[in-house]
């Protein structure tokens, strides 16, 4: 089933939760709505579910305008953040409820419930009440309740946020497998970029009710549309350097208080055609390295910096440098890491630099 948001807006009183939101989701696609809390992602999902009315714009399911349809006529299933299981019903009745509401025959209900329960490993728990289940089991009941109807689309509102870290990564895998098996359309809301990057075939990054960028995980990571996406995606976060644009003998460079960046020909052309006096340069932690291991070739800038904090993750090390009174994070190999307090020379790779317009925040193409 395909889904289309066409210029959907939603205001709660004076607060604009969603503004001019347009998004196409293809049949069978897994799309993640990602953003900080209050960015409008849940509002978008609830409008699609029919739990919230759009203030403006239209919602289409399979090309049909369902803007005025009540929730129970949209044939979609939703997994809630707190699962919203019916506390007085057994697991079996919880899963069966949606089918019974749709007047499904008794045998058909039984067959479907047992299939869904089997798929999610709940066959032994059918007689229990939700109060007798662990968090992970409740989560699976909520999933079973969603898949049992074979709906046209699944909407999931932060379904993993109440699970502990280990269970969360397990369930993430289960969801990916489940999607592959059922081939149904999934709209998934989360503020967790790891979930978004690992599960979403496409990610829609949102902030303050506005859609910032839609693309694959690799896309939004390597080519963020603007400063917000660049900063929000990636952990540790990208470092930014603001400086003056200078041109000497046809070669462009950017001067910040501590560092001078030289740019490639391509980057110079971009900057020249943008005709900016100032620019913001973004560099990911993995593109900032110790100068000695980097070599001079391909470096846009080399600079000395004092190391403030070193965090070891076992396989790699995150070192936080102090530069112009701001923190810059680098990702370094775990063997022979630098120590806190040392001053070392670092180099930033030219090929991976990103240029942003400081006024609009947009990335220069």
């Amino acid at each position: 089933m395909s889904v289309r948001f066409d210029r959907v807006s939603k205001a709660f009183g004076d607060t604009v939760a969603l503004s001019d939101f347009t998004l196409d989701v293809a049949d069978g696609e897994f799309v993640v709505l990602l953003g900080p809390s209050g960015c409008g992602k849940t509002t978008a999902l609830r409008i699609l579910a029919g739990l919230e009315e759009a203030s403006a714009g239209d919602v289409y399911i399979d090309g049909r305008n369902v803007t005025d349809f009540p929730a129970h006529r949209r044939d979609i299933a939703m997994v809630f953040q707190n699962y919203a299981l019916y506390p007085h019903m057994s697991v079996y009745d919880n899963i069966a409820f949606g089918l019974r509401m749709r007047k499904t025959g008794r045998q058909q209900v039984d067959q479907s419930v047992r299939d869904a329960a089997g798929l999610l490993g709940l066959s032994e728990l059918l007689k229990r009440k939700p109060g007798q289940l662990s968090g992970g089991q409740r989560q699976r009941v909520a999933l079973a309740r969603a898949i049992v109807r074979r709906p046209k689309a699944f909407l999931m509102d932060e379904p993993l946020s109440n699970l502990d870290a280990k269970l969360r990564s397990q369930t993430r895998l289960e969801l990916i497998r489940l999607h592959r098996q059922l081939q149904s359309t999934v709209l998934y809301v989360t503020h967790d970029q790891v979930e978004a990057m690992t599960m979403g075939q496409r990610i829609a990054v949102m902030e303050r009710g506005l859609l910032q960028q839609v693309g694959s995980a690799a896309d939004v990571y390597a080519r963020p549309a603007n400063l917000f996406v660049a900063e929000f995606i990636g952990s540790p976060a990208m470092s930014f350097f603001r400086g003056d644009v200078q041109e000497t003998d046809g070669a462009m460079s950017v001067q910040t208080p501590a560092i001078r960046f030289t740019l490639s020909l391509e980057q110079s052309d971009t900057l020249r055609s943008a005709a900016l006096k100032e620019v913001v340069i973004g560099a990911r932690p993995e593109h900032i390295d110790l100068a000695e291991s980097f070599g001079e070739e391909g470096a846009s800038a080399t600079f000395p910096a004092q190391i403030d904090v070193v965090e070891s993750l076992g396989s790699e090390v995150h070192a936080t440098l102090l530069l112009d009174g701001r923190s810059v994070v680098t990702r370094l190999p775990a063997d022979d890491p630098p120590h806190a307090g040392e001053t070392r020379r670092f180099a930033i790779a030219m090929a991976h630099l990103l240029l942003f317009d400081p006024a609009s925040g947009r990335r220069l193409p």
Binding site: M78, Y86, H88
Partner: protein, 307 residues
Amino acid sequence: MTTDARLLPERRRGSVARSLRQLAAASPFVLPSVVLFGVFVFYPLARSVYLGFHATDPFGRREVWVGIEQYRDVLTSSDFRYSLLVTGQFALYTVVPSTVIGLYLALLAHQRLPGILLFRTIFSSTVASSVAVSSVMWLLLLNPGVGVLNYLLDEGGLPTASWLTEPRWALPAVAMTTVWMNIGFATIVILAGLQNIPEELYEAARVDGAGRRNQFLHVTLPALSPTLLFVSVVGVIFAFQSFGQIHILTRGGPLDSTTVIVYSIYREAFLHYNVGLASAQAIVLFVIVLLLTMAQFVAAQRWVFYR
């Protein structure tokens, strides 16, 4: 877990001393309510049991041990059985309507609408009016000559009645005023119960395809079941304890048609000065209410769901 055996006896001695210390620390906090309950509940209860076994002279001075004779009298007396029947009818006429109307008003008041607070206040206001005031008000409303009820019935072309003086109508009329008094309490409690139901359950039900009726049947009612049980248990107890409205509206008449047990106790003790027999009736009433409440809880196990 392993425990060092040598430590055990000492620990036990220590724990006895500790619980004594805890008791000493707790008693000042418990004492006020123990005293209050003692003076107003436990002593009167014990005294009633005692008096139930003794016959008294009309001034309550001489007390003669008569064993279970008075209890036997109470249980075999046709008057008592009749007042038990009246009380049962009274409970039926009050509990069911006040619970149903309370539920209906609570559902109305639960809507998110502008000015709903005003309606919540109005719907629950009867809880704040005393039995005496409400009874006098209804005495006027039900008055066959100048009362509003007969006026409205007459305007509507319907037959009128002398509500409080016809044996056929007296009990329903008193029950009606009692329902009016109970509605405020029922509405408040049920509204509180409604507000405790998570909104997400309704949203899940809507996505699952449940319309309004099914949401009510499958989400609201089960979640409300403990509240409804509470309201009906308290309603039965209220009904068995009703006195004020009967005293003011009908004084047990006409032809004893509104003589509920409490009114019969009052009459026995303070009009006939038969304190011993009244005490025996009171104890029997206590046992009946206790059994009824237990029966309600047992019967409710099947349909009440506690989270």
